[in-house]
């Protein structure tokens, strides 16, 4: 078994090297390897299909290159397409004209929302903002305490009037948090919410109610980079259930290839804004499409190969 696309392609490269043109067979065999590599990277199947089709079309029409052998040419195309999809219009966080800017976090259970709330606060402070966190997960045991500790570590205020563990109304807390932030002149409010499944209609409605109560400037869909084929279904459920304006990929400090990045970007069209890569406050970065592209396909080596060609 080959682990990465570069391994896979090295095995088909030997046959292709030196042919100098892209025959239909060359394209097919290379695309087969790309398909498998994308699936191994957890890119969702419908996205893999559309992507490979697109690559094939471009490869067919590609100029014959002196410098690159056929497989390398296909890989170059793959990389460009990946970066294009992942990057699109990378944009900065949308800030409200009249503060406070409200950023609502939503996602599946355990995806990293509460941790992200702390990271965002820490990062925003570094940018000269005065953020506040709102504890609107009143469900999961000790989610409120967790956010309080996270806020303390980040050195920011946490609005947590309800104890949680089933006590309190998250919609009400969210509404009061905005008023509180406004009156005390915090310029960004980050709203932490409970984890919920796409199929949980009741909780999805609650998320929509929180949204309606605070009119967020950004709703960030927080997604674990280890997620597999379910990424599409879940992203669609959150898009339809609450809507989101950006994506944050978490746990990128692991070795998952993170194909979900491609799936979610392609299916929802929403940009990936941030990457979370550790449990600590500062293990957080704006999203880099090019790094993600190489990561998904394990293409670092392939790109070097191309450069050397």
């Amino acid at each position: 078994m080959f682990d990465t696309l570069s391994d896979r392609l090295t095995s088909v490269l030997s046959d292709l090297r030196g042919k100098g043109r892209l025959s239909e067979t060359d394209i097919d065999s290379t695309c087969r390897e790309i398909r498998i590599a994308l699936l191994e990277a957890d890119v969702a199947l419908p996205v893999v299909r559309a992507f490979v089709k697109q690559v094939k079309e471009r490869a067919r029409g590609a100029e014959v290159s002196e410098a690159l052998n056929p497989a390398q040419q296909v890989v170059k195309i793959v990389n460009e397409e990946l970066v294009a999809i992942l990057g699109g219009e990378t944009r900065r966080l949308r800030l409200a004209k009249t503060p406070p800017t409200v950023i609502m976090l939503a996602g599946l259970q355990g995806s990293g929302k509460t941790t992200l709330a702390g990271k965002l606060a820490h990062w925003l402070r570094g940018q000269g903002h005065t953020p506040m966190l709102a504890a609107c997960d009143l469900q999961r045991p000790n989610a409120v305490n967790q956010l309080q500790i996270v806020g303390e570590r980040a050195g920011v205020e946490v609005f947590a009037p309800e104890p949680g563990n089933g006590v309190g109304d998250p919609v009400d807390v969210a509404r009061r948090a905005v008023a509180d932030a406004r009156s005390r002149q915090y310029d960004v409010l980050v709203v932490d919410t409970a984890g919920r499944l796409g199929v949980d209609e009741e909780l999805m409605r609650q998320a929509a109610d929180i949204r309606d109560a605070v009119s967020p400037d950004e709703i960030l869909f927080v997604l674990d980079a280890m997620v597999g084929q379910d990424a599409v279904t879940t992203a669609e459920a959150f898009r339809d259930g609450v809507g989101f304006s950006g994506v944050v990929l978490t746990k990128l400090d692991g070795d998952a290839r993170g194909g979900a990045a491609l799936s979610v970007r392609e299916v929802t069209g929403q940009p990936i804004l941030f990457a979370s890569n550790g449990e600590k406050l500062d293990e957080f970065d704006v999203f880099h499409p090019d790094r993600m592209a190489s990561r998904i396909l394990g293409m670092g080596d392939v790109l070097t190969l191309i450069e050397q060609a």
Binding site: D42, Q109, Q146, N165, D224, V227, G228, T234, K251, G254
Partner: protein, 292 residues
């Protein structure tokens, strides 16, 4: 999700006299890929199904579907021993260690397991060996209160091995039936944290056997789940897998590879956030949900 009838209709095409309809095969393949079985496992299952359809003289889509189900259930090792060793033996409590990457549901599973045991009339002690994550010990203690189990905690930032050791010592002294040790989430790529987990187990083993090491895998996990399982097995010798969040749309198909490569069975499944949402893993029911 894919409806039962869609797959059923597709399977019609598999039935021509050896004249296979590629679209139908693709549909079977899609079902498996979308359930996170991974491309090589999918290929194997499809190959087996092809063989069996050819050799069995299958006539109806129902029969073809039944064969697919059969091949899938077989691949899950339906005869594997799946009981959880969580009861006192040789005059000492059972010790269960719960481990996995971040956010999979370890603490919740620990709480649910305590609830099952307490409801069965057993005395359970929880050990909060996650001294790292914000409010992790409080979360476990809340679960303990719900379940009717006491929780042994250390200070924030305390050595998790010493908290675990303490919990097992206290459990042994007071003669409880089981000590359940919740550990911090850690990515398998972090060698320092994996060493720490290995140490937790070794330190506990100075006074008692660890009867069960449960690896908690999130059903939404894709192909990385296999890598997680490999590394955790190496470090703490996993004896069972808990597959959580099966109440969502994810199918959890990574366990096909995990079970086969590790030879370690899935023992429990998590079906929600509530205290009673823990169930034994049943290969047939799992496969039915996967094909639904």
């Amino acid at each position: 999700g894919r409806s039962r009838s869609t797959l059923g209709q597709g399977l019609l095409g598999l039935l021509g006299a050896g004249d296979l309809d590629e679209d139908s095969w693709e549909e079977v393949e899609d079902t498996l890929l979308m359930a996170d079985l991974g491309s090589s496992t999918t290929q194997e299952i499809v190959a087996k199904l092809r063989e069996r359809i050819a050799s069995r003289g299958v006539r109806t889509p129902e029969q073809a579907r039944e064969l697919l189900r059969e091949v899938l259930v077989e691949s899950l090792g339906p005869d594997m021993e799946r009981s959880v060793r969580a009861l006192a033996h040789d005059g000492r409590p059972a010790v269960v260690l719960i481990a996995g990457v971040n956010g999979t549901g370890k603490t919740t599973t620990t709480g649910k397991l305590a609830r099952v045991l307490v409801a069965g009339g057993y005395v359970v002690l929880l050990g909060a060996a996650d001294t790292f994550r914000a409010a992790a010990a409080e979360q476990l203690a809340t679960w303990g209160e719900r379940a009717g189990a006491e929780t042994v905690r250390g200070k924030e930032g305390a050595d998790p091995a010493s908290v675990a050791f303490d919990a097992v010592r206290r459990g042994t002294e007071s003669g409880v039936d089981a000590v359940l040790l919740d550990t911090a989430g850690r990515l398998h790529t972090k060698t320092g944290l994996m060493d720490e987990l290995g140490k937790v187990k070794r330190v506990v083993e100075r006074q008692a056997d660890v009867d069960e090491v449960l690896l908690v895998l999130d059903a939404t996990t894709g192909q990385n789940g296999l890598t997680q399982a490999r590394v955790f097995r190496e470090v703490v010798d996993v004896t069972g897998v808990v597959l959580t969040k099966l109440d969502g749309t994810a199918k959890g198909g990574i366990v096909f590879q995990v079970q086969r490569e590790l030879g370690v069975p899935v023992k429990l499944v998590g079906l929600g956030e509530g205290p009673d949402d823990l169930a034994p893993f049943e290969p047939e029911a799992f496969v039915d949900a996967l094909l639904r």
